[in-house]
Structures are given as structure tokens and as C-alpha cells.
Symmetry: C2
Subunit: 546 residues, 2 copies
């Protein structure tokens, strides 16, 4: 049964900026250093960039890539690219040039906007790009501008803006809420990152969900300690604009800068992985706050110590869990009043669980590994029986871009398979225990073990390699490599690390490379990673920290 057009508006986060530019025209929308843009400024910039993208030839459905830290124009991109009818590909700024090239080619991006400081990342691969027609180098006025990297044919951001044709008509409405708004690349079990497709509808609903659970309002001042390239900043790019709050930009998460901005702008909200919270807590500038600061944490359960320290400091911790495939957070550890009267340890454990589905999400399930008659079967909600965490609904990705096979596999049985293993507690809260997929989560970012193995194996001295995630105090998890040397070769850890770093983002490099005589294998010759992991995780309560 369809509704008449007058009763049906396609959901899109673009409507949030349309509204806030009307209702809060003079209110600060974005702050960066000494720069402040009101909502009116932001909307005008967004319109100008959208028109400029059209002028470069961008058409409906085209992909436009941004390689940028958390600066105002990165926020602008989250509205300008969809306003131009295109799809935003926000690329992880820590990737190696070859990784960036792969994403640009795989996404088929036609335009790439790159921050001056990151342009050098692109230099080695820019000539090889298959689909990019326009490269734009954006200077950040808050940093001493280095000489622009010599990118052949690149134009400056000002030159891009000059292309905008003021008569080019734009609309804040979309024809189809299920059309893509962005593609976010994430490493999975295979060697190459996969492009996770978000829709306008999913982004709209997840943004409203974030507002509910992290309590964003018109009075919110949000500090960008989470990368905007990570799940579009868990859709907070959009949710803060829906709320009419202020977003404070930040190129780099350093304790001193974070505290300086918290104090200067009376920050009320920030998001991040537990490592970010630890960095903030341990900064020499850390001090007691006289107002609540809502800190939404995901990527790993915050440790009881971190939770206690954060709360002493005046942080209100909101613990959420999700994946790139679920627009960032999908579950939230919603606090129960009864927990307050429990002993600290017990309370901390309850709060470290991944929790319940957010208000916009379908119920989360924990299911048995095998389908029964094509149907997923829940494990008992006993807090003991392990199963895989699965999700579905409006805030599950539409698909992996150009990878129908991986999409079909991820959606087996009609639910998205997280690859995370956990238990369902009798109170309906899920808790992560292990990972079914061979993925390491380090500081909130996925690392594919296969990807790291391939990089190591490409060294001539390596005969065999196996990479597993090991617990890491700071990053949750980090890769560790077990290497068997090729006969007659002497492979040193330092040389191998250097080799890997030339191919992969630095955060993906193993913390340790251990040369071994042989790898544990099954009778059929398959490496038993399980055995390697067990040794490394002995003494840990679960087999997952990332």
C-alpha cells in the first residue's frame, strides 16, 4: 500500500541541514581553531561545494572521495556530496598509498578531495588512478601550509569553489531514501577492504538514534575525537546537525589539545574508542569537570578501571557497540537504575556488556552457527552459550559495493552476520566473547589478518606466515605475526616491519613478529590460528578486546 506523495517524504539527513539553516541561521555549527561557521555559513558552503562538484561533471550516483582529517570541509562533504546527488567515500587517513588507490579505483570515485598534509600520501599513486578525473588539494588555514604536493593536474579547493554556478538548482530532498549516501571501506576476512554502502534512510534513522542515546540537543557542543571517516563519524556528522548543536573540529587527538578545546568551548559530548578515552584521562591537563561530559565509547568494552576513572572525572560514559556494516553503533549498554546499588566490580561488568539494540534498530540476536531449515536459531539467553551476534533492519548496510558474493554471505539467513561471537544474558543484554571472523579490531579500526599476512609473505625471505590478534593495553588488540623463514634466508623483525609498513597503514603493522620453526597445522595442512591465539590470550577473560 503506497501513500500519496503529499504524505511521504523520502528520509535523508540533508533535511537536517535544511532545517537547522532555517531555524538556527546565526548559531555556530562548526568551529575550527579561530574559525566559526554558523548554520547559515555551513549551508551556503555545502551548496557551493555541491554546485562545484556538478561543475566538475559529477552526476547522480557518482562517487566522490575525501581524504581528510576532521576539518570543517570534511563535515561539509557529508552534506555537499549527497546534495550533489553523489555518494561520499570518506577514506581512512592512515592508509598507505596503495590502499588509498585500491579504494579510489574500487569505488570508481571520479573526484578526490585531499587535505594538503595528506596529498603526499597520494603522490605515488595519483598517475595510476583509473576513474578519478579531478583531484582537489584542500589547505587548512589553521595549520602552517606545507608546499602543496606535486599532484599532476590537481586544483586547489578555492579553485574548486570558483567553479560553482550559482544558478545550478539544488534540492535538499531525494527521490529515493534507499539510494546510497556513502560508501565506507573496512577490512574484513579477505585481503582487500570492502565498501559498505549506507543509504539516506539508514543514515537518517541512525542519526536520530544517536541523538536519543547520547542525548544530543540544541545545546550540545560536540568535539571530533572520532574520525569522520570512520562510519561517517558514527553518523554524528548528521545527528549533531539534526539537533542543531555545535561541532568542534580537531585534526589530531592529542591530550593537551583535547583538554584545551573542552575548556574553551565548554564541550558537552565526544565519541571515541577506549584508547581515546584513555589518552584524554591520562593527559597532564586532565581535570575535574563541573558539568557532565557525555563520552560515547565503542570499539571495545571500556575496562572497569577506565569506567571508574572516567566517572570520577565527571564523564558520563555511554557504551555502544556496532560495526561499519551497522552505521557504527547498533547496541547500547542502557544503564539500569538497579545497578547503582551493586558492588563496583559487578556493576562494571554489567556496564561493559554490549547491551541492547538502540531505539532505531531491530532487536539484536545471538544465534547458533548453523541454520535450521534455512532459519537462524537463537542460543539460550543464559549468559553462557556462545553464538554469533546478528543484526538486521534500517541501520544495517545495504550491501558491499560491487561484491554480491560477500553481501550474500554476510546476509545468510536474512540477518547480517557480525562475525562477533557472544552470549545473550537473561536480561536481554548481549556480551561479546570472541570473533568468528579473522579480523583484528585495533583502536576501533578493523585490520584483516589476511591483509597483513599477504604483506609479510611478499618479503622474499618469508616461507609461511600466520597473523593473529593479541591483547594490547592501549589499542585493545594488535596483530602479532608468526613467521617461518625461507631456507637460507635470515629474516629479521626490523626488516620485516619496514617491509610491511611500506605496504600497509602503520597501525596495521604487527606489534611483534616472532620467527618460529613451524606453524601448528591440521592434518590437512591448514594453519591452526586458534592454537596461536589461545596461547596469547591465556589469562584473559574473553578472546576479544578490540
Amino acid at each position: 500500500m503506497s501513500a500519496p506523495a503529499v504524505s511521504l517524504s523520502q528520509l535523508t539527513p540533508l533535511s537536517f541541514l535544511e532545517r537547522s539553516a532555517t531555524v538556527h541561521p546565526t548559531k555556530p555549527a562548526v568551529v575550527h581553531g579561530d574559525l566559526t561557521w554558523t548554520y547559515s555559513d555551513l549551508a551556503q558552503r555545502v551548496e557551493q561545494v555541491a554546485r562545484a562538484l556538478h561543475a566538475t561533471g559529477v552526476q547522480a550516483g557518482d562517487r566522490v572521495a575525501y581524504l581528510m582529517p576532521n576539518v570543517p570541509d570534511m563535515l561539509v562533504a557529508h552534506f555537499a556530496v549527497p546534495l550533489a546527488g553523489a555518494v561520499l567515500v570518506a577514506i581512512n587517513t592512515r592508509l598507505a598509498p596503495e590502499e588509498v588507490r585500491y579504494i579510489l579505483d574500487h569505488s570508481g570515485s571520479t573526484v578526490l578531495v585531499v587535505d594538503t598534509e595528506l596529498a603526499s600520501t597520494l603522490a605515488p599513486v595519483v598517475d595510476a588512478l583509473e576513474t578519478v578525473r579531478t583531484v582537489v588539494v584542500a589547505a587548512d588555514p589553521t595549520v602552517a601550509s606545507p608546499a602543496p604536493a606535486a599532484l599532476p593536474g590537481a586544483i586547489s579547493f578555492d579553485e574548486l569553489l570558483d567553479l560553482a554556478d550559482g544558478t545550478d538548482p539544488l534540492t535538499w530532498r531525494v527521490d529515493d531514501e534507499n539510494a546510497p549516501i556513502s560508501i565506507n571501506y573496512t577490512s574484513g576476512t579477505t585481503g582487500r577492504p570492502k565498501g559498505v554502502v549506507y543509504t539516506h534512510r539508514g543514515a537518517y534513522l541512525n542519526a536520530l538514534g544517536e541523538n536519543v542515546h547520547s542525548d544530543h540537543s540544541v545545546d550540545s557542543v560536540y568535539l571530533w575525537t572520532l574520525p569522520m571517516f570512520h562510519c561517517n563519524g558514527w553518523c554524528t556528522t548528521w545527528s549533531l546537525v539534526a539537533a542543531g548543536g555545535t561541532q568542534v573540529c580537531l585534526r589530531e587527538v592529542r591530550g593537551d589539545q583535547v583538554w584545551s578545546l573542552i575548556d574553551r568551548h565548554a564541550v558537552t559530548h565526544l565519541n571515541g574508542a577506549p584508547t581515546v578515552v584513555t589518552t584524554i584521562l591520562n593527559a597532564p591537563e586532565a581535570h575535574l569537570l563541573d558539568r557532565p561530559l557525555v563520552v560515547t565509547v565503542a570499539g571495545a568494552p571500556p575496562s572497569p578501571t577506565t569506567l571508574a576513572e572516567a566517572e570520577t572525572m565527571g564523564f558520563a560514559i555511554v557504551h555502544v557497540y556496532g560495526l561499519t556494516e551497522t552505521y557504527g553503533p547498533y547496541t547500547v549498554n542502557e544503564r539500569q537504575p538497579a545497578w547503582q546499588s551493586l558492588p563496583g566490580d559487578e556493576r562494571a561488568h554489567l556496564q561493559s556488556r554490549q547491551g541492547v539494540a538502540m531505539v532505531q534498530a531491530d532487536p539484536v540476536r545471538v544465534v547458533e552457527p548453523e541454520l535450521v531449515d534455512g532459519v537462524l536459531v537463537d542460543v539460550p539467553a543464559d549468559g553462557v552459550t556462545m553464538g554469533e551476534i546478528v543484526m538486521r533492519g534500517n541501520t544495517v548496510m545495504r550491501e558491499y559495493h560491487r561484491d554480491g558474493e560477500a553481501t550474500a554471505k554476510a546476509f545468510a539467513g536474512g540477518w547480517f552476520h557480525s562475525g562477533d561471537l557472544g552470549v545473550m544474558h537473561p536480561d536481554g543484554y548481549v556480551e561479546l566473547r570472541d570473533r568468528a571472523k579473522d579480523v583484528i579490531v585495533s583502536g576501533g579500526e578493523n585490520i584483516s589478518t589476511v591483509e597483513v599476512e599477504h604483506a609479510i609473505a611478499s618479503h622474499p625471505g618469508v616461507l609461511e606466515v600466520a597473523v593473529v590478534g593479541v591483547p594490547d593495553e592501549r589499542w585493545g588488540e594488535r596483530p602479532k605475526a608468526f613467521v617461518v623463514a625461507r631456507s637460507g634466508h635470515d629474516v629479521g623483525e626490523v626488516a620485516l616491519l619496514e617491509h610491511v609498513r611500506s605496504r600497509l597503514a602503520r597501525y596495521k603493522a604487527p606489534r611483534e613478529i616472532q620467527v618460529v620453526g613451524e606453524l601448528p597445522k591440521t592434518s590437512t595442512g591448514k594453519v591452526q590460528k586458534f592454537e596461536l591465539r589461545e596461547k596469547e590470550w591465556s589469562g584473559e577473560q574473553s578472546r576479544i578486546r578490540g
Copy 2:
């Protein structure tokens, strides 16, 4: 472009109760007198009623009518009826028997649930009902039960519950978010009320919008001073369950009871027409509150005096505007920080404007009366030029039930025509000034002048009659009738009033009936109501108060 089922969940407020029953099973969901239902209790009751409705023969798409004050089972109906796949028809409890009969027949309701105290309303018409197969009389344990009205064939609510088959499978998900969830009857320009069809999608989105603008949260305690039958309580029936808050029921808005409940349950939120706020403020029990009480007001702009008094008492007033056709509130007078420094009068005027579209709504427009090339044209945003207020999008009704002609007329040019005349201010805020449609809004409820005229004209002594809305201190507006007596008949005001009250709800009866020699008419003989209204409204700033 469609999304796979795993990435697309149909929006429905049912999901809110599914979630809150999981996350807050032991938290109070509904309070009524000494009765408290937790979210677990509420969900169980909802399931039982849905199954019982099935047992009476209710099938997908059937209409189920409720004639009830604000009691827990009225809230249950907002979930149980859609959970049974049916459509809720919540009927205004102040209507006359003949009006209730019309709605039951027009909606084609097959089941009617009626409160014991209201059953007598039904007695005169119950035999004539065309489609109702099952009548259920519900006793309220908090009131001394009168002898149940003799309704032939009626069963008690307990007997209904007993019908529920525990094995009847239910799902909290729906197949189509654009399917109807409820039909709310409202008087328009024609003599008979029209059935406004709400969808699951619209109700879901409006509920989330209410949560944003009235700041509902898990800590909210909401008092039911707004009738649940009125636009499904502005969708607050659903929004509070989404938030996981507590709803406090109330059969009747009496100042003493309201204050007793505010104090007893530490109420944080209530909604109502300005008359409700006035009643609460003027109660002898009124006292200063030591916490903010959010009072969301619609139906008429609160007067500067009311605003000032309410704020002194600790009320945080949220002024909203909408119609039954827009799921209740569509715009909100979002406060601007800059207003705080203005003189009281100026600030009060700014706050009395109807405001800007809510976050889930499309932008509101003020348009010229005539379409240009089939397109609506905005009046200048000068705060002076009058036009009609029009709306569109997900929180505009799907249609008038069984009235394609009225629907087409209301949706002319692709927007819903409110029938309200107003101006657009340069800051994007709309302000009501007059009404294009011949409708009176009294205490938040629509009264059709035609309906009142028909009732008066049915008296044998009446030759001609014209009814207009006149300003009323308490109710905003009330009807006033001008009557020309039939020659040789002596029509007295008292006798005419009695005649009208036997046919219409009491609140629709004119405040005054003035017998005149003749009515002002055009050369073609059409009554010039405008002239009658002008006299009555002389001295008023606008021509609208309701």
C-alpha cells in the same frame, strides 16, 4: 532502488514497546490510581488484547473502536489494535450518541470497546450499528462502578481477555509501514466529521519528533492531561514508550487531581490546550515546583499572561501547532537564545508564534490562495502578507477515510491545506492570523459551523441560521449562532440550546444564540459570515484564538 529485506525494517511504533519491554521490563510504564503496570505487564496485556481481538474475528485492516477516557486500557489499545493488524479508531468521549454512531458506521468498526461510564452514551444507538459485531464494556477499577448500561449482547473486558488464545502467534513487525495504524475523526467544513488516516511510518516518525522537541527521556514521567483520543494524544502514547518513560493516567482534568498527581509521581511532562494550562495554574493547589515541568501546549497560542504565569510556576512551555491531519504537532516555537534579552512583551509575542517545522516534518509554507501553473506560490516572508499554511511529508495524514473527494481537495497542489491563514516572518517562523475554513477550534477540538447550523436548523421554529466562532476567554473560541425565526414561531435561546445538546456534543453548543430579523447576505443570497465575525472580533489582534 530497493534495499534487501535485511537492510529494511518497516517503521512502526510497535517496535518501541517490543524494545522497552526487553530493556525496561520492571520499570513502571503506566500508572493509574494505585495500579502500576511495568513495561513487561504492559506488553503482556497488549499481547492478550491483540489475541482476544483476533478471537472476536478481527482481521488485518479491520477497524477497532475505543470510547474511553485516559485509562491504561486506552494506552493498551494504541499497541494492541495494531499488533492485531487492525486500525484503531479512538472516539472523542464528549460526542453525542448520534455522532458516535456515525463514526462507528463510517469507519466500519467491527469491535467497540467502551468505558462503563460512557456506555450509557451508546445505549440509544447500539441497536442501529451497522458493522459493530462485538461490544465490550470496560470497568475502571479506580472508580466506583455504576451499574453497567444495558447494552444488548455486550461482553465485559474480562470476558474479552478470556477469549485470548495464548498460542496465537503475534509479531511486533508490520509488512507495510504505509498501512493505516489509526483513524481519527475531526470536524471540518462539512457537516460530518472526517476520518483522518494515520500510518505506522507517520506515527513512528512523529513520535520520535515529539521526543526531540518535548525532550522525553527514560526519566520522563508524563501526565495524561491531553485526551488520548485526540490525534492519539499527539502520538505521545507511542513516543513515551519509545523513550521508556512512565505514563500517568487521569480520567478527568481537574486542578486538584492534576496537582496531586504532579506531586505524587514527580511528573516531568504534560500536554494540553491552553485551557488546560489555565486550569492547572488557577487551581487552589497550584504551587511552585522545584524541578522543571515541561508543558507542551497547542490548540491556540498561549497568551503572554499565561506564558509569564506558567514560567513563574516553573513550567517550561513548549508551544507547538498542528492539526489532526498532521498527527497533532507539526511546528514548534523553537526558542532562540537572543530572545532572552528582549522586553517581556516582545519576547512573549515571538513565543506565541506557531514557529518552524519539527525535525521530522518537511518545511512549513505560507502560500497564496491560487495555484500558478498548478504550483503553490509562497507569500513573501515579511510577517505581513497573509496566505494559507500548508504542510507535507511523513507526518501528514495519508487520506480521509472513504472520502477521496475531500482528500483530493485537501491535497491540492501536492500539499496539505491546513485552512489556517497566517504570515511567514523573515526569521522563518509562521504565525496564525485567521482561518480560511469555516471551523471553530474550542479547547483544542474542532467544531464545524455547518454541523452546528444543521442541528439548530432542524428545530421547527428556525427559518435561517448562521454560526460563527467568537473569542472565548476560557476555550479560545466558541460558536455563536444568529437565528432568524420562522414566521409565527417564538424561538427561545434555552429551548434551542436544549435542542442542539440533544443532537451534538455539549462543547459544540453555541455560547450564545442571538435571534435577529435577518442575516447579512450577498446580492446572490449567500450569508456573509465574514460580517458577523468581524463584529464579534472587533478589538482582537487576530481573527483566531482556537
